[in-house]
């Protein structure tokens, strides 16, 4: 007997909510970014669980593409953080209010 899909979805939900809490609570931009990765990871877990449930490999292919796009997103996002740090000398996301009217 294998793992019930319900358990996997419950774990996915818990990890996703923890990621959201990280985005809401932490002020360090890098930790906020890591929380976003945590949420992507939770979504991937749900996709894998459904791929097994439906016996359909397309779910796994989609997860592969999600990981590839996440890699691209991390590269650009971290470059942005480095650029912001060069100008503001801080990566506190409360300090980044340059577009405020």
């Amino acid at each position: 007997m294998s793992i019930p899909t319900d358990y996997l979805l419950a774990l996915s939900v818990v990890l996703f909510v923890l990621g959201i809490l990280g985005v809401l609570v932490r002020r360090n931009a890098i930790v906020v970014f890591m929380s976003i990765e945590l949420m992507l990871n939770a979504a991937n877990l749900a996709l894998i669980a459904f791929a097994r449930q439906m016996q359909d490999l397309i779910g796994q292919v989609v997860v592969f593409f999600v990981i590839a796009v996440a890699a691209a997103e991390v590269a650009v996002g971290l470059a942005l953080i480095v650029t912001i740090f060069k100008t503001k000398h801080s990566i506190d996301i409360d300090q980044v209010s340059g577009l405020r009217g």
Binding site: I3, V13, V14, E37, N41, F65, A71
Partner: protein, 175 residues
């Protein structure tokens, strides 16, 4: 309760505990290392779910490349300890309340959907989710998205280089 379920419970405990530790640790380097632990636990879970290929991609790309990039940036900026004055006093309680509300809402949706089939009824063959099957699907039905992925990665690479070099170019133009 079979062995698989016990292994799942252990891995889930590790994943949730490392995620919570990532959120509460003050040092960003510790956060990154806890996130690596989380990714590895989820990768082992993928192995249990007939997704060996994705498990290895998770370890090499997520736990390997992406987290090394994170650690590089943390140490490059010296941003591991960031003591900040809090602009909004009520932010943390508000975030906790909103997070709990979201969790309750998701739990409600979850339990309303109970009664749907939970575990795959048929016994999964060993071939399901094998790297061979995933690779065959990737290179037959999904060749175009696969190639577009390379363009996306190239664009991200160029974007990262341009963003990181901008400062130096401006400085060279000044004198």
């Amino acid at each position: 309760m079979t062995t698989d379920v016990w292994i799942f419970l252990g891995l889930a405990a590790i994943a949730v505990a490392s995620a919570i530790s990532m959120l509460v640790s003050r040092n960003a380097v510790y956060s990154a290392l806890f996130l690596v632990l989380n990714f590895v636990a989820v990768a082992v879970l993928y192995l249990l779910l007939n997704a060996a290929f994705i498990a290895l991609v998770q370890v090499t790309v997520y736990a390997g490349a992406i987290m090394v990039l994170f650690l590089f940036v943390i140490m490059l900026l010296g941003a591991e300890r960031l003591h900040t004055e809090r602009a909004l006093k009520w932010q943390q309680p508000a975030a906790a309340v909103l997070g709990l509300a979201l969790l309750a809402e998701m739990a409600m949706v979850f339990f309303r959907g109970a009664g749907s089939p939970t575990a795959p009824s048929a016994v999964l063959g060993g071939a399901f989710g094998s790297p061979t099957a995933v690779g065959r699907l990737l290179f037959s039905g999904y060749v175009l998205p696969f190639e577009v992925t390379s363009v996306v990665l190239l664009a991200a690479m160029i974007g990262a280089i341009v963003l990181a070099r901008e400062e130096r170019r401006v400085r060279r133009e000044k004198p």
